[in-house]
């Protein structure tokens, strides 16, 4: 146990620091900026987790917003209807429940579609996102078409960025470990991966569930930050937005996904474009990207390796 704490000391300190940081921020930033910063944190979790599925493992999921919705509603149900009021820890229980619910949904979709190669997952997740919305709209106990009001505002800058930090660090450790390299091998050449003893179906499902889990956590944070959720927040367009972050950043690159998540959260606010123009801009961005840098801003490498290679050539 002590060695486990030592190995994770930096991470634990980083997580703990989010609370004093969160307490200090309102003194320097107004509520509007603070809200954008929180949205950036949530989008980082979404982009990095989708990057595990789309970028690293190479399985094209178009339903990340659907998993976010499951996490949002499941976690809201926990704090509103299940967790005893007054008992602390409700947010964390809710986030775990939201993540677990999304992961189970990922398992159910993953088992039939990920056995197959090709675009089955894209089609299945596309349909799934819409089915989830229809189911929620028709479920009166979670607010139906009116949306769900009165979710306790338990999430804040601190909890969002604590989760984002944990998510990024854990997924980074996974992807760049002997357990994660085989995921990239599946993306690179599935047949060769299988010939090397990699159980491709099992690993694809595992990556898909892990990514879905974090989408569920992001949904839970979102619900408990704004206190009101509606299916309009989890449409196909939201899924496309997250895909854009991954593609823009460079498939498989954490730093790319994080930079793109920041850019695509801030840009629409800066330019004050309405939602109707946003999709046009994303499309143009994607087209320009495909033409000029088909492998994304950073390719599948990290900014750290990119910087060190730039330095090496400069010398």
């Amino acid at each position: 146990m002590p060695s486990l704490v030592r190995a994770n000391a930096a991470l634990l300190i980083g997580v703990a620091l989010m609370w004093p940081l969160g307490a200090a921020l309102p003194a320097v930033l107004n509520a509007y900026y603070l809200q954008i910063i929180v949205y950036i944190g949530i989008n980082i979790i979404l982009a990095v987790s989708l990057n595990l599925i789309n970028g690293v493992t190479g399985q094209f999921s178009l339903g990340h917003a659907g998993f976010m919705a499951i996490g949002a509603y499941a976690s809201a149900a926990v704090t509103m209807f299940a967790w005893p009021s007054g008992l602390p820890g409700g947010l964390w229980a809710a986030l775990l429940a939201g993540g677990a619910a999304a992961a189970v949904a990922g398992l159910i979709i993953g088992i039939p579609t990920l056995r197959l190669r090709g675009d089955y997952l894209a089609i299945a997740t596309l349909g799934f996102g819409e089915i989830i919305r229809v189911v929620i709209v028709n479920t009166e106990s979670v607010g139906g078409a009116r949306g769900l009001f009165g979710i306790p505002s338990l999430a804040s800058f601190a909890s969002v960025y604590a989760c984002a930090l944990i998510c990024v660090v854990l997924l980074w450790r996974l992807v760049y470990s002997p357990k994660g390299i085989p995921l990239a091998a599946i993306r690179e050449d599935e047949m060769a991966a299988a010939a090397m003893g990699i159980d491709t179906t099992r690993l694809k499902i595992l990556a898909f569930m892990t990514g879905s889990f974090w989408a569920g956590v992001a949904g839970g944070l979102f619900a408990h930050f704004i206190g009101y959720i509606h299916t309009n927040s989890f449409t196909f367009l939201k899924s496309i937005e997250i895909v854009t972050m991954v593609v823009l950043g460079g498939m498989g690159s954490f730093s790319g996904a994080i930079l793109a998540a920041i850019a695509l959260t801030v840009l629409p606010e800066l330019l004050r474009f309405g939602a109707e123009y946003r999709m046009i801009i994303y499309s143009i961005l994607l087209i320009v990207m495909m033409l000029t840098r088909p492998r994304g801003l950073l390719g599948n490498r990290e900014i750290t390796t990119w910087l060190s290679s730039k330095l090496a050539t400069a010398r």
Partner: protein, 254 residues
């Protein structure tokens, strides 16, 4: 008992009988050649042995069990590894990562241990890394460990593919034209390397190669395929003087 025993295997693609009545027996530690004219069905045999295709009929046994119908990753885990005629590395991964990807199923690294950096998982990770480096070293690629596979010269890609196959700890290694596209000097080096690998790793090796001189030189036994059927089996000297083999090679209609 033979390590690998294929009996009466057949496979058709639509109307084309690519392989029929195929039999092969490989003992532990043997170096065996599989030769035949273009389109004879050699690669298809490799695909049958590794589970890419399931034979229409016949049985393939490895060790003491039948592997017919098993998925490719299961067959690999039984102890058969291969390289591909058209190189199939993981192009955007580094040489080191290519080898590491093939260690997956052999490590008892847990997912939770990995992300929590538990001491056990860290020790296991270091062990795997050392092993991968040793394998790169065995094919003289240690100094290219961080080069993406796609940027390696052709000859080195072929060697990396062998290192990657070895990382799965096979008992039998299938090499599909490992010397194709390499220059004469590289070819001789490679063949020496293959013989050395066989001895050092205690492997049985089945090798497809068009260069007769090389095959005759290094293999103990040779199986000759023509039009999907075995036309001769024997030691190099026997194969060289077999009239059916001579006819198959000289009497090709093309």
């Amino acid at each position: 008992m033979a390590l690998l025993e294929a009996r009466d295997c057949a496979l058709s693609f639509g109307g084309l009988r690519a392989v029929s009545g195929f039999g092969l027996s490989v003992d532990a530690g043997e170096l065996i050649g599989l030769i035949g004219p273009n389109g004879a069905g050699k690669t298809t045999v490799f695909n049958l042995l590794t589970g890419v295709y399931v034979p229409d009929s016949g049985d393939i046994r490895f060790g003491d069990r039948s592997i017919t119908g098993m998925a490719p990753h299961q067959i690999n885990r039984c102890g058969i590894a291969r390289t591909f005629q058209g190189i199939r590395l993981f192009p955007n991964l580094t040489a080191f990562e290519n080898v590491m990807a093939a260690c997956e199923h052999r490590s008892d690294l847990s997912m939770v241990g990995t992300v929590a950096r538990s001491p056990g998982a860290e020790a296991e990770r270091r062990r795997i890394e050392a092993e991968c480096l040793a394998l790169l070293d065995a094919v003289d690629l240690a100094d290219r460990r961080d080069t993406p596979a796609r940027s390696l010269p052709y000859g080195l890609q072929r060697r990396l593919e062998i290192a990657r196959a070895l990382a799965t700890k096979p008992k039998l290694l299938l090499l599909d034209e490992p010397a194709a596209g390499t220059n004469p000097r590289e070819k001789i080096e490679l063949m020496e390397k293959i013989r050395w690998l066989r001895d050092d790793f205690g492997l049985a090796i089945l090798i497809i190669e068009h260069d007769m001189k090389l095959i005759m030189e290094i293999c103990e036994r040779i199986t000759v395929l023509d039009h999907g059927e075995v036309i001769a089996v024997g030691c190099p000297a026997e194969i060289k003087s077999d009239p059916k083999v001579i006819e198959a090679y000289l009497g090709e209609p093309e």
